[in-house]
């Protein structure tokens, strides 16, 4: 068991100007499940591969425990990796696949067999030990890949999108299995995914990356409740947060007809570059449906209603004074000038209907209009 530390780790691919991973500083505690998440091309896989030793580190250092592994061969780092396409050895049986690393290390056969059988038991693979990977289903192959990592009893597990080749239902199921397995084994784990739901559900902590830069690290709750910038705010959470830029006057944010009080300390952080505007984010569940008579309400025309049983989401177009033809004020996961509103699933509006919504006070996220950094 060990901690993992990235110390200003940088990777520049040959022939490119911009670093794929830029000055990454990240400390992962012993036994922690850290999820690296971000859109494709954000450098999350590169970060993982740097830790694995499959990618050179151009600047900075990487530590596993107290040991500097920056220039250590992958095989000597005491790590195990689960690949996206599993990378099982096609010509070996499941048992041989799982015991391969031990065999190379010269572990006695009886011990290999015993450890493989233990792992197979945990993963429910016992009856498949003599099969070749070809004869397994996708989910079983995924478990073999996990088993190969477990058998080694490494200091750190690295997982590179291990669920993305599974179908949706199996993915949800395996997600919880991996998370509970990790808690049980207590092995430090770095997990890469592009799926923020996976990140929120599995991770002890989440690190969001964008363009090779670390945006924020925190527990799922922190990431959800206090995103540090506009990117994280829009990335974490499903459906995505509604985000818009609004003028500030007299200590209030003017959201159309509504006035939201801007706390004094936040107002003090505004700079001239902000041009008296703030970027405001509010999650779909922070909106209340009220009546037209409410002065703070703004109208939304319902385009579609997504009913999920426990929830219902209205995807609507802004109407009234907030709606602008050219310059979109609000963006959301649904697009420009669109807002997403969570409504009571027992009482959903009809398509084309106009509903009036207000932002629940205290549940707004205020960001600098100029820098996108959190103010509140």
């Amino acid at each position: 068991m060990a901690t993992v530390t990235y110390d200003h780790a940088t990777r520049v691919y040959p022939g490119t100007e911009r670093p794929a991973v830029d000055q990454l500083n990240l400390h992962i505690e012993d036994g922690e499940f850290l999820v690296l998440v971000g859109p494709s091309g954000c450098g999350k896989s590169t970060s993982l591969r740097m830790l694995a030793g499959l990618e050179d580190v151009n600047q900075g250092r990487i530590f596993i425990g107290d040991r500097d592994v920056t220039d250590v061969q992958p095989k000597d780092r005491d790590i195990a990796m689960v690949f996206q396409n599993y990378a099982l050895y096609p010509h070996m049986t499941v048992a041989d696949n799982m015991g391969f690393a031990l065999k190379i290390a010269g572990t006695p056969k009886a011990e290999i067999r015993q450890r493989v059988e233990e792992a197979a038991k945990i993963l429910d693979l016992t009856e498949y030990l003599d099969r070749k990977p070809k004869a397994l289903s996708g989910g079983q192959r995924q478990r073999v890949a996990m088993g190969r990592a477990i058998v080694r009893q490494p200091q750190v597990f690295l997982m590179d999108e291990p669920l993305s080749n599974l179908d949706a239902k199996l993915r949800v199921q395996t997600r919880t299995q991996i998370a509970s397995l990790q808690r049980r084994l207590g092995v430090t784990t770095v997990y890469v995914t592009h799926d923020q739901t996976e990140a929120l559900t599995m991770g002890d902590r989440i690190a969001v990356l964008k363009d090779g830069l670390l945006q924020q690290v925190g527990t799922p709750r922190e990431m959800y409740d206090t995103p540090q910038n506009v990117f994280v705010a829009g990335f974490i959470g499903s459906p995505a947060m509604n985000i818009g830029t609004f003028p500030v006057s007299g200590g209030n944010i003017e959201v159309g007809p509504a006035r939201l009080a801007l706390p004094r300390d936040v107002a003090g952080k505004l700079t001239s570059e902000d041009d008296n505007k703030v970027t405001l984010g509010f999650r779909p569940e922070s909106l209340d449906v009220t009546s037209e008579s409410n002065a703070a309400a703004f109208p939304v025309e319902v385009n579609i209603v997504e009913e999920l049983g426990s929830d219902a989401f209205v995807y609507g177009t802004l109407r009234g004074s907030l709606a602008q033809k050219d310059d979109a004020v609000i963006t959301s996961g649904a697009g420009d000038n669109q807002v997403i509103v969570r409504v009571d699933p027992r009482n959903v509006p009809m398509k084309g209907e106009r509903v009036f919504v207000t932002i629940r006070p205290g549940e707004e996220h205020v960001f600098s209009a100029a820098t996108g950094q959190r103010l509140s």
């Binding site: 694995a52 030793g53 499959l54 061969q73 992958p74 095989k75 790590i79 195990a80 990796m81 690949f83 996206q84 396409n85 599993y86 990378a87 099982l88 050895y89 096609p90 010509h91 391969f100 690393a101 190379i104 290390a105 070749k132 990977p133 070809k134 190969r148 080694r152």
Partner: protein, 295 residues
Amino acid sequence: MAATTAPPLAYRDAPEAPVRTNKKSAWGSPTTYFIALVLVAITLAPVAYIVLGGFRTNSQITESPSGLPAPWVVSNYTEVLKSSVFWQQLGNSTLVALVTTVGVVVLGVMASYVLARYRFRGRGAMYSLFAAGLMFPITVAITPLYILIKNIGLINNLAGVILPQIAFALPTTIIILVPFLRAIPEEIEEAAWLDGCGRLGFFFRMVLRLSLPGVLTTGILAFVASWNSYILPLFILNDQGKYTLPLGVQAFSSQYSQDTAKVLAFTSLSMIPALVFFSLFERRIVGGLQGAVKG
């Protein structure tokens, strides 16, 4: 129950759904068979003629060149089998073919592995160089090759046949094997690294096993090509005791030019090993050419 006794009116009145009858039998179309049989006949006729001819006497052949053996004579075959020359030449051919095959496979896999999986300057040029060898027939090179082998002192020596044969079989081998080795997924290599394999460990434990179909294909092709090669041994080997079978057939047929039946028997005996070899591994060859690692 009323429901069961009621006539199924709705079904009876409904227009009959078109039943898709499988008119094609499991045997397929006769035309296909006809064409296939004609082609097979064209291919097999000369071989059959040679093999059957060996079972006839010379007078039978003169009387009716295309007849069947009547009666069957086995003495042609037994005489050939009794002669030490045949066995000597069979041994030479086998030795040359085996050593060539081993050389081609070992060198070919090594060269292909480097060309397929290492990144270095001039890799493309090197691959093209090997591929260019395909366009360079041995017949064209025979004179300088002869001089070269003479200078090395390998004239009338089986090694003088083996070495050039390995060299000339390498282009095909590399062209078949490089895509094969390239198709081994990168992740498998990375997984093997993490599991503690070095480059060489990966080569021996993974690459060799995963490229086995390709290796077999190239090996068989090299074996058969060597078994049938004629022009190179013709230039290099002078001594009847050193002859390989194709040369032996040639020598035998000029020696016994009157005894057609015996020549036919000798010829068929000399081609049988290659024929058996090829038909045994025919499936492997096709599998190897299809290539790639699955799973």
